[in-house]
């Protein structure tokens, strides 16, 4: 077990009390494994990711244990936490236009990750930036490096983010709805790149999405989440054919694919 989350609970202070967002979440990921976290908006899946990175909101109270390679993540502060974030975990968020600083060029984003965060020399970082962009399938690398975020499409930017994420060869990638903001064709492309890079480098993936089919295509195991609680865990086939929890069944039944055609005739696999 590489990542082990046990009894994670999170609540936020609101006017007149505490609002519970996560209740007793437990899940684990092995090295190189892809695990999905599926649920609708508000189910707490994004918050789970943020807890691992320790970027939860300031007024949140967190209890439980999160262990990454034996290290107690929730107890970390300062420099050790920064090192963890720089070298062992990487996050890919939903809206790349928001993730990149609009007044800085792409090259800066990548060099910042490698030089300021990971300690590479600036020159080495710049060279590596070019290589990484090629690795994620971008043509015209120099042009892209000199561009500003608003000049590039969402799909392109998300590839840049992926490039930045794999730069330090982290053991774990946290992906929070990475393709939701993109159009359908680009979704498939970006997903393919993410999956390829991940497998190539042997990185584990915690994949958050509301799209059950998408999770099924990429993940080895899926956790279904509702209202801050994990209701079921299992392999994609198992969840599809023999859903144990009524909510899982609901999710299954409401997929567009299941409504339009049978799961065996084509689809996302």
């Amino acid at each position: 077990m590489m990542l082990d989350i046990r009894s994670l609970s999170l609540s936020i202070a609101v006017d007149g009390g505490e609002k519970s967002i996560l209740r007793d979440i437990s899940l684990s990921i092995d090295r190189g494994e892809a695990v999905g976290l599926v649920g609708e908006s508000g189910s707490g899946k994004s918050m789970t990711l943020r807890s691992v990175l320790r970027t939860e909101p300031r007024n949140a109270t967190v209890t439980g244990v999160i262990t990454l390679d034996g290290v107690d993540v929730l107890a970390l502060k300062g420099e050790p936490l920064r090192q963890l974030r720089a070298h062992q975990i990487a996050m890919i968020a939903q809206n790349p236009h928001a993730v990149l600083n609009p007044v800085l060029p792409i090259s800066r984003y990548l060099v910042e990750g490698m030089h300021d965060a990971q300690g590479l020399s600036k020159t080495a970082a710049r060279v590596r930036a070019g290589e990484l962009l090629e690795q994620v399938g971008i043509d015209g690398v120099d042009r892209v490096l000199a561009s500003y975020p608003h000049q590039l499409s969402g799909g392109m930017l998300q590839r840049v983010v992926i490039a930045g994420a794999i730069a330090g060869k982290p053991s774990l990638i946290l992906a929070d709805e990475p393709t939701t903001a993109l159009d359908v064709t680009t979704q498939a492309e970006v997903m393919a790149i993410l999956d390829d890079c991940r497998r190539e480098l042997g990185m584990a993936l915690l994949f958050v999405t509301h799209d059950l089919d998408l999770a099924a295509a990429v993940c080895d195991r899926i956790n279904v989440m509702k209202d801050g609680v994990i209701v079921e865990t299992g392999e994609p086939d198992q969840l599809r054919d023999r859903p144990a929890h009524p909510y899982t069944k609901e999710l299954m039944d409401s997929r567009p694919a299941s409504v339009m055609w049978s799961p065996d005739a084509g689809g996302t696999k």
């Binding site: 920064r82 993730v99 600083n101 007044v103 910042e112 990750g113 965060a117 608003h150």
Partner: protein
């Protein structure tokens, strides 16, 4: 190109403004001559000179054109009260006003932005004090600040002179320190407040949080993501307030009896010397326009998105 368009717009506006300033005197009841003379007893020669200066015998647009071309060549005519060339009067007064405005601008930028950043980055007592100070500071009129500073530091403690603008570089700055502070105070308060808000918003912006999440050291995130990005809206506000110093300077000059354009203007209004009023008005409008243009250009320079997308 962007710059050229703005320059042309500025020229257009200045042209229209000068027209407004020029034709203002025709708005008064009675004939223009009477207005200009304001019931003073004048010799026929002086009257003829006034008619000449304003080409009152010619049709309206010819008059305007003559006046405008003269002004552009630096000939502002003669003061209606003491027959001195207005241009000379202006030249004497300009340095004081410019120094005053420059000092105040520096104070606004340094004090306002500085305190705003401190309040934005820290929580706790420091933040609360700065917040309180800036919320009250903006309500303090410049002239009141001037009087208070004067009574405490000039009259009371004797650290600064009470009036006049001094000779020589350092003496001048010493004389203009309190007036500049009074002038800058309300604007600095506003700038501090806005900076604080901008910093706090940027702290919570996704790119800042994600930078931390990627392991970028906090100090660098602060510099490169939080402070740098918040300077975008802040610079606009600072620019607006610096432009506003032009009007505020009259008040401070009057309070401290400085020999600047402002006191000249107020005196001219009281004495009904419209030639001087016109001249100063057109200069101030030009200055205001130029500063505003500079702010727009500065913003365009630091935000790469301007020019490609129309910022609403």
């Amino acid at each position: 190109m962007f710059v050229v368009r703005r320059l042309l717009a500025l020229v257009g506006v200045l042209f229209a403004s000068s027209f407004l300033v020029f034709s203002a005197m025709y708005a008064a009841p009675g004939s223009p001559e009477n207005f200009l003379v304001q019931g003073r007893t004048v010799t026929p020669e002086v009257l003829a000179a006034i008619r000449e200066q304003y080409s009152l015998d010619d049709p309206f647009f010819v008059r305007f054109w003559n006046w405008l071309t003269n002004v552009l060549q630096g000939d502002f005519g003669q003061s209606l009260t003491n027959r001195q060339p207005v241009g000379d009067l202006l030249a004497n007064r300009l340095p004081t006003t410019l120094t005053l405005v420059l000092l105040a601008a520096i104070i606004i930028a340094v004090l306002g932005i500085g305190l705003g950043i401190v309040a934005g980055v820290r929580d706790g007592i420091v933040d609360k004090v700065i917040l309180l100070g800036s919320s009250l500071g903006f309500a303090v009129p410049t002239f009141f600040a001037a009087l208070l500073l004067m009574s405490i530091f000039s009259v009371g403690l004797g650290w600064f002179p009470v009036f006049g603008s001094g000779d020589g570089f350092f003496d001048r700055i010493w004389h203009l320190a309190l007036p500049a502070l009074a002038l800058a105070l309300p604007s600095a308060a506003v700038v501090a407040r806005i900076t604080r808000t901008a910093i706090r918003e940027e702290r919570d912006s996704e790119h800042s949080v994600m930078a931390i999440a990627r392991g970028v050291p906090a100090r660098i995130v602060l510099q490169r993501h939080v402070v740098r990005n918040s300077m975008l809206p802040v610079s606009t506000i600072v620019g607006v307030h610096i432009a506003g110093l032009i009007a505020g300077s009259f008040v401070v000059e009057y309070a401290f009896t400085l020999d600047g354009l402002g006191t000249l203007l107020v005196g001219a209004v009281q004495r009904k010397d419209f030639a001087v009023v016109q001249a100063i008005a057109i200069i101030l409008v030009a200055g205001f326009g130029i500063i505003n243009l500079a702010v727009d250009l500065l913003y365009a320079a630091i935000d790469p998105r301007v020019g490609t997308k129309k910022a609403s």
